[in-house]
């Protein structure tokens, strides 16, 4: 074992009294011992330690003390307080001097009165005379008498005139002061009446006039929304102060954001070009308080709306929603997109251009956003009316509102439905130009059309659900295709799904029943396939000289087995390739334009 071996004791150390070492008790003890920490710095403390002195540097060797008698003055001049001890010393000396002075004066008075009294009553007078006075003057040596002055009639008259004039002047000045006060009060009353008149007008307009929270003496008007998110809840009260001339003034209310942005704007963009925009109406320039309250209310609503939109949009990047600092873009595909941002109010009265469908769309979207926020406010009230969730340690972040999602669902569904309709129209045109009969019927958004709106909530709820459209297509050859498209941004669809059911006689193709596609491209391919097989079936029905080869899209002639046709459908249209073994293939295409030639013509009178 080495000499520096550790000796461990199993007994615990006695615990220090926490009170003794706590900073609060240390500070009081240090202050009691050596005064304040002011002007204490490292060097002073080091000096003190080196010299082992137990003295207070502030009193003994601080620079303050070294500067001598002018210490307190110079300290005061430097904007500092002299230290407390000097202050006390000075004050004490001052009080002592004043008390001595007062005592002296009182004794002089006593001597004077005593000397006077000693003339009449030497006993009483001399008892209170000071020995000094007794030494210098004999008792009873100061006499007194009442002086009787004869009044001078001239001066009496003058006195009366003066006093009368003073009285008149006094009364006049009192009358003037009263009149001035009356005028001032009258002015104030006029302003007050004007103020209250305007307050009443605001109240009659339906606004809630109330005391300002935290500012009891001021009236305020509430233009905010009780069900707003926490960020906006406390903003919606504006103080109604009285202006110079009694008008109501609202000076601390925001009616626009930065750069005058006050209202939500929706624009429809196609390949970066603005095709349509919503209207930012609102009487921008009116300075009246009522309009200002209205603008403040609209702004706080729009601001919250945009805040909630960006909050929700950030979570929707997987649905083609992009967010930047000041805009949200919903991508609709095909180069079209919808941009949502905040914009200043329009100048003047710009009305909606109802002949521009894109402007109508933009205005519709902006209206839908506003209604959805108000619906969300309703839901928030409903939620608050229920018993609160159990308390937890975690901070509960309110979930994002559902506004962008339903609107995007609608927009995407609408876009996909338009695409589907265009595709079907094209196919029908193609088939008809080839001389066959076909038709389709669509029922757009059939699950959310409500003929009667009973109340706000059911109306909006229908809008929030997933959306379905149906299309029924009659193809040639007795084929019937039913397309059911559904859009929902969320499980289980995450976009648009097409459920396509086919029914036919089962000869040209075995596949029947329902198929499900989640991309429009797949759906398109399937429809092309259906059309190919249905045309095969049509040929089989109408022309008994042709036979399908192994359920493919090729057929051969029964008469002449070397002659074949292949039927294929793609985006350009229907193309039939005819040919014979060993010969050259011919290709006939129906792309919807009138070729003056039908499929039957081709089959009966082959080219070449």
């Amino acid at each position: 074992m080495s000499s520096n071996q550790l000796l461990l004791s199993l007994k615990s150390w006695p615990e220090d009294d926490p009170e003794l070492k706590s900073v609060s008790s240390l500070i009081t003890r240090i202050q009691a011992q050596r005064g304040h920490f002011r002007d204490v710095d490292e060097s002073i403390l080091e000096n003190e330690i080196r010299e082992g002195k137990d003295t207070d540097p502030l009193f003994d060797d601080s620079p303050v003390e070294e500067s001598g008698g002018g210490a307190s003055n110079s300290a005061l001049a430097a904007g500092e307080e002299p230290d407390r001890a000097t202050q006390l010393k000075n004050a004490k000396a001052e009080i002592v001097a004043l008390v001595g002075h007062a005592l002296n004066e009182a004794l002089f008075g006593l001597d004077y009165v005593s000397l006077l009294v000693s003339l009449q009553n030497p006993e009483a007078g001399s008892s209170s005379m000071s020995p000094e006075l007794k030494k210098s003057v004999p008792v009873g040596s100061l006499g007194f008498d009442k002086v009787q002055r004869r009044a001078d009639p001239g001066s009496v008259k003058e006195d009366l005139a003066i006093s009368h004039a003073w009285k008149v002047e006094g009364l006049n000045s009192a009358a003037d002061t009263l009149m001035g006060a009356s005028k001032k009060l009258g002015d104030d009353v006029r302003k007050e009446a004007r103020y209250w008149e305007q307050i009443l007008a605001i109240r009659e307009d339906g606004w809630v006039v109330t005391r300002m929270p935290n500012e009891r003496r001021t009236l305020g008007v509430r233009f905010g929304f009780a069900e707003s998110a926490a960020e906006y809840k406390n903003k919606g009260v504006g103080a109604l102060r009285r202006g110079e001339d009694g008008d109501v003034v609202m000076d601390d209310v925001a009616t626009t954001g930065s750069h005058g942005k006050a209202m939500l704007r929706v624009r429809v963009l196609e390949n970066g070009e603005v095709k349509g925009s919503s209207v930012q109406s609102g009487n921008k320039c009116s300075g009246s308080v009522k309009d200002m309250i209205q603008r403040a209310r609209n702004f706080i609503y729009e601001d919250e709306l945009f805040f909630e939109i960006t909050r929700e949009a950030r979570l929707m990047a997987n649905y083609g929603v992009r967010t930047s600092e000041d805009a949200v873009t919903i991508d609709l595909g095909g180069g079209r997109s919808i941009v949502i941002d905040m914009a200043p109010l329009d100048d003047g009265d710009i009305v909606l251009d109802i002949h521009n469908p894109d402007s109508n769309l933009a205005q519709g979207v902006v209206t839908a956003f506003r209604i959805l926020l108000s619906y969300n406010h309703r839901m928030s009230l409903r939620k608050r009316s229920k018993p609160p969730p159990p308390l937890t340690q975690r901070k509960i972040v309110p979930p994002a509102l559902r506004m962008v999602a339903p609107i995007t669902t609608h927009l995407l569904h609408h876009q996909h439905q338009l695409n589907l309709q265009n595709l079907l129209r094209h196919l029908i045109k193609v088939v008809k130009s080839a001389g066959m009969s076909t038709a389709f019927v669509t029922k757009p958004r059939h699950n959310c059309l409500k003929p009667v709106i009973k109340n706000v909530e059911t109306a909006v709820e229908a809008f929030l659900e997933r959306i379905e459209s149906e299309a029924t297509v009659k193809l040639p050859g007795g084929w019937k295709v039913e397309i059911n498209m559904k859009t929902a941004l969320g499980p289980p669809l995450y976009g648009t799904a097409y459920i396509i059911g086919t029914s036919h006689d089962g000869v040209s193709a075995r596949l029947m029943g329902e198929n499900r596609f989640t991309s429009s491209k797949e759906m398109e391919m399937y429809l092309f396939w259906c059309l190919e097989r249905s045309i095969v079936n049509e040929v089989r029905y109408t022309n008994d000289k042709w036979e399908q080869i192994a359920q493919s899209n090729e057929m051969w002639s029964i008469d002449k087995s070397t002659r074949r046709i292949r039927i294929s459908v793609d985006r350009t249209g229907l193309s039939i390739v005819t040919g014979t073994t060993g010969g050259k293939d011919d290709r006939v295409v129906w792309d919807g334009s009138d070729t003056g030639r039908t499929l039957q013509d081709l089959l009966n009178h082959p080219v070449g």
């Binding site: 008149v168 009364l171 006049n172 009192a174 009358a175 003037d176 009263l178 009149m179 006060a181 009356s182 005028k183 009060l185 009258g186 104030d188 009353v189 007050e192 009446a193 209250w196 009443l200 109240r203 009659e204 606004w207 809630v208 109330t210 005391r211 929270p213 935290n214 500012e215 009891r216 305020g220 509430r222 905010g224 929304f225 009780a226 069900e227 919606g236 209310r297 609503y301 909606l352 109802i354 469908p357 109508n360 519709g364 209206t367 506003r370 209604i371 108000s374 406010h377 309703r378 309709q421 129209r425 029908i428 076909t438 038709a439 389709f440 019927v441 669509t442 029922k443 757009p444 706000v456």
Partner: protein
């Protein structure tokens, strides 16, 4: 009487009292001026001061009435418990009346009404265009 019109009458009454107080001061001034005019007329002063007292009396009576009405309406709200020292500040026992009054959602309801009205107008405006958006038949 509805609280709305009641408030309005009260405020108008208080304004009238306010106005009379300023008149009262000017009456006092007139009364004093009659004393200094030459020749001073006792009857003129008597009538002026009579007017002053009558006005004062009417103000006092009306103010009393207002106080009575306020008390009947429990304004300031009756103080209960230990909130006694706050009495007279219009505090209602330490409750911030302003914060409470601003909790209703009149604004929200009105806004919602306006929004739906706007939406209805928009749909009405576009209904011509909307016709093409219904069932599509082709064939």
């Amino acid at each position: 009487m509805s609280p709305q019109s009641n408030t309005k009458t009260r405020i108008l009454e208080l304004n009238a009292i306010d106005k009379d107080i300023s008149t009262l001061l000017s009456t006092a001034s007139t009364a004093i001026t009659t004393l200094t005019s030459t020749p001073a007329s006792a009857s003129a002063f008597a009538s002026a001061s009579g007017q002053y007292h009558a006005l004062l009396q009417s103000i006092v009576v009306r103010l009393r009435r207002q106080i009575l009405l306020l008390e009947q309406a429990d304004i300031p709200a009756p103080v209960t418990g230990n909130g006694g020292e706050k009495e007279g500040k219009g505090s209602g026992g330490g409750i911030d009346v302003g914060a409470f009054n601003s909790r209703n959602d009149v604004v929200g309801r009105e806004m919602e009404g306006e929004l739906w009205k706007g939406a209805k107008e928009l749909v009405g405006l576009l209904s011509g265009d909307l016709e093409g958006d219904g069932d599509v038949k082709m064939g």
